[in-house]
Symmetry: C2
Subunit: 205 residues, 2 copies
């Protein structure tokens, strides 16, 4: 990748960096050079940080979140409401909702969406464990709520419908995120589906 003139260790570093999302071959080379130039300030700490993460990172056996403890910090937090389960496709979505402080509920990470064409069926996602959690939550006496915070894509909505079907007969309130105009968004740039949804779900000012 460098023209085979740098050492094999540098080549290997570039190859691995190029496999990170968002980094192509060119930016992987730039990143490797940057690391080499900032050896003490960046490369050495990064080596330690990646090794640390390899050691410590684990998946929460309850909700599928990644953390360094199991159950994860959110599941273990007594201030979080275990009867409100926010269902997300991916940990990145969980992180986004946490940054927004959008809920004091707990999460359930599906690990993807149903996609028959790609061979992703219900057994490939954390759906069975979600149904178990929902069933347990209904038995606790508290009203349970499942917030389907999946992406507004065809796959996301298909998955949402499948989950809703599985919950038939259970006393669980199933909700989903509102569609509407993004805060700070300009109407002129929004698609018609969003505008129609925002109009239909309009609220009092």
């Amino acid at each position: 990748m460098t023209g085979h003139t740098a050492g094999p260790e540098i080549e290997r570093l570039i190859q691995l960096l190029a496999r990170l999302p968002g980094l192509g071959p060119r930016s992987a080379r730039r990143a490797a050079l940057h690391l080499i130039k900032k050896k003490d300030q960046l490369m050495t700490p990064l080596a330690a940080a990646v090794a640390d993460a390899v050691d410590k990172v684990t998946v929460c056996s309850r909700c599928g979140n990644v953390d360094t403890v199991d159950p994860c910090t959110i599941c273990a937090d007594p201030r979080r409401d275990p009867a409100t389960i926010v269902v997300v496709e991916d940990v990145a979505d969980l992180w986004a909702l946490e940054r927004a402080n959008a809920t004091n509920g707990t999460y359930h990470v599906l690990g993807g969406t149903l996609s028959p064409l790609d061979g992703v069926g219900p057994d490939d996602l954390n759906i069975a464990s979600l149904i178990d959690r929902a069933t347990a939550a209904t038995g606790s006496g508290q009203p349970a709520e499942l917030v389907l915070a999946v992406n507004a894509t065809v796959e996301g909505q298909t998955t949402a419908h499948y989950i809703t079907d599985q919950l038939t007969g259970l006393d669980v309130k199933v909700t989903r995120l509102a569609h509407g105009v993004p805060v700070g968004g300009e109407l002129d740039y929004l698609d018609e589906g969003t505008l129609t949804a925002a109009m239909r779900q309009r609220g009092e000012f």
Copy 2:
């Protein structure tokens, strides 16, 4: 960065990844998640690769290239012509020329360009060692050539002029890269300076 709900090791990894060029906070989070998901295939090898690079990477004491040996693979290669010294600003430029197999000469990495406004003077660049090498090359009996492969920017050209001044009195041929139309480039998209240079330096078909 994740909303302080993931472990400190994950936060630290994201923070360090965000300091790589080309990765902002958002793509650093995506990269960290990708690493976590591909723990065995990617995160563990990356930890080893970065640690290896920390151990092995060194700067060539002769030309300023980065490699895992000193002198670097290029300087040590008997097939490379030590009397042709290709002067580049940065190791990234050296790598680019090597990928193109553009020369069988050796290199000299300046480590930047003269920039009085940013406080970068001749002593901050590897210019003295370049003059030493040029002087040594003229004494070898072979005709020596210094190819100024610096960027076609004001700073690059200023640096090229400074180096040329320092070589006064030495029997060194000083050349620079040709300006012209990039291979595969469309004239319509090129700036006027490039077109004028390409016309002036036109060759026989």
